[in-house]
Symmetry: C2
Subunit: 241 residues, 2 copies
Amino acid sequence: MLSIVCNNLAMASGKATTVRARVREEMTNEIKIVARQHLGVEGANLSLRAVAREMGMASSALYRYFASRDDLLTALIVDAYNSFGEAAENADDENVQPAQRWIAVAKALRQWALNHPHEYALIFGSPVPGYKAPQDTIGPATRTVKVLGRILAANPPISRPGDEIELPPTLEQPISNIAEMIQAGALSTPAMARALAAWMHILGSISFELFGQLNNTIERREEWFEYQTRVMTQLIGLKSE
Amino acid sequence: MLSIVCNNLAMASGKATTVRARVREEMTNEIKIVARQHLGVEGANLSLRAVAREMGMASSALYRYFASRDDLLTALIVDAYNSFGEAAENADDENVQPAQRWIAVAKALRQWALNHPHEYALIFGSPVPGYKAPQDTIGPATRTVKVLGRILAANPPISRPGDEIELPPTLEQPISNIAEMIQAGALSTPAMARALAAWMHILGSISFELFGQLNNTIERREEWFEYQTRVMTQLIGLKSE
DNA sequence: GATTGTCAAGAGCAGTGCTCTCGATTGTGT
DNA sequence: ACACAATCGAGAGCACTGCTCTTGACAATC
């Protein structure tokens, strides 16, 4: 039954190399799927042996596909980043007013986190002990912020009288570098800085809720999150309808 | 040599019960200290056996003092919450202007997190897998926000024209409940809501930096954090200088 | 058809949390 | 002062973990 799944997926992926390569690719995919499931019920401490057991193979055989447990974790992290970024991309609609655009993306990210709590914890939670994030993760990691950058670039924030807190000169360069990276180079540095603050607020707010800090305080979390995000869009200076 | 340390500390602690009780109390303290050190170099996966090894005793003997590894972790979490709250309390100076007060506390919290990264991860990072936060933690957890509440209560935020985003009616009650809890009941609910958003921004910003998301982007992190926090105080409506 | 590369399985090592039992020590009541 | 009870540390042991190495079976290639 495994082979059937493998063949189907191999067909879908399109890469028509040798049969062996296709099977191998499908095996690694299967492993990641099972590992993701185990991550969902077990938490961050993923057991290779348990994954192997569920797949009906010896634990040692897993090492043909992933050099170590950290390697498997890295693969899951990359996938999580991509899935997170994809959620943002799908939620973004260019035909919507800027503030609503930002809020919609933020809500989609929160919903993704609620649907994939352990994968969210994998990328934005405390780093796993012996693990060092490899270079593979920085690409997919920028995918999400690029969506936000697109919103900012398309709708340059209105200047907000009274908000002119002088940006320290030493921060000018790094902030404008970030603006370049997310392809919103036209933004003023204070606007970019406020947008970054809003970004950190989004992640902080999601983490706060997901990691249990909101228990026994606020129950209407969706509304609370949306309200907060709307306040932050006003801080950024995004026009609202 | 261990007994000497124990006696000294027992003298200091003052509780003059039986010798056995004092030694026991000091043993648990000693265990927590060693565990904290191991937490610092090893990360979240704390090894009871390693702690016991370092203390020169059998791993099974540890179970005389902590019923399980989770129990030891809980003790460390409670201590961390208290230490975190204490840092906030010490940083708060009533004779300072409101915005600067808020910023000073925020900076102190960030500094504490930088000095105790693993303890910070313990309380604000992803929850450890099989662990359920017991009731013991909610008391020390509110200690920090009460400091912020004190600042808000002593300096009711000025109303900010243009920021009147209607707070959803369903949020009125929970928000004012929070205001009550942190003893800032006089605050308006929108002001309280904005302060909460600022609080989540602080934690999000610290986590962002501490968990490595800021790598290769911003180097002047102290200035960056302070700038952001100042922006947020303006959002709250705290008077500056 | 023989060779080469790939794969899964098993045994084994060092480590983990945790339980149980067994002496030894200490504290307390008579 | 003595006996009883409570406490404590150590050791063995169980089931589990990540990981390595070796062995044998299979498939692709020349």
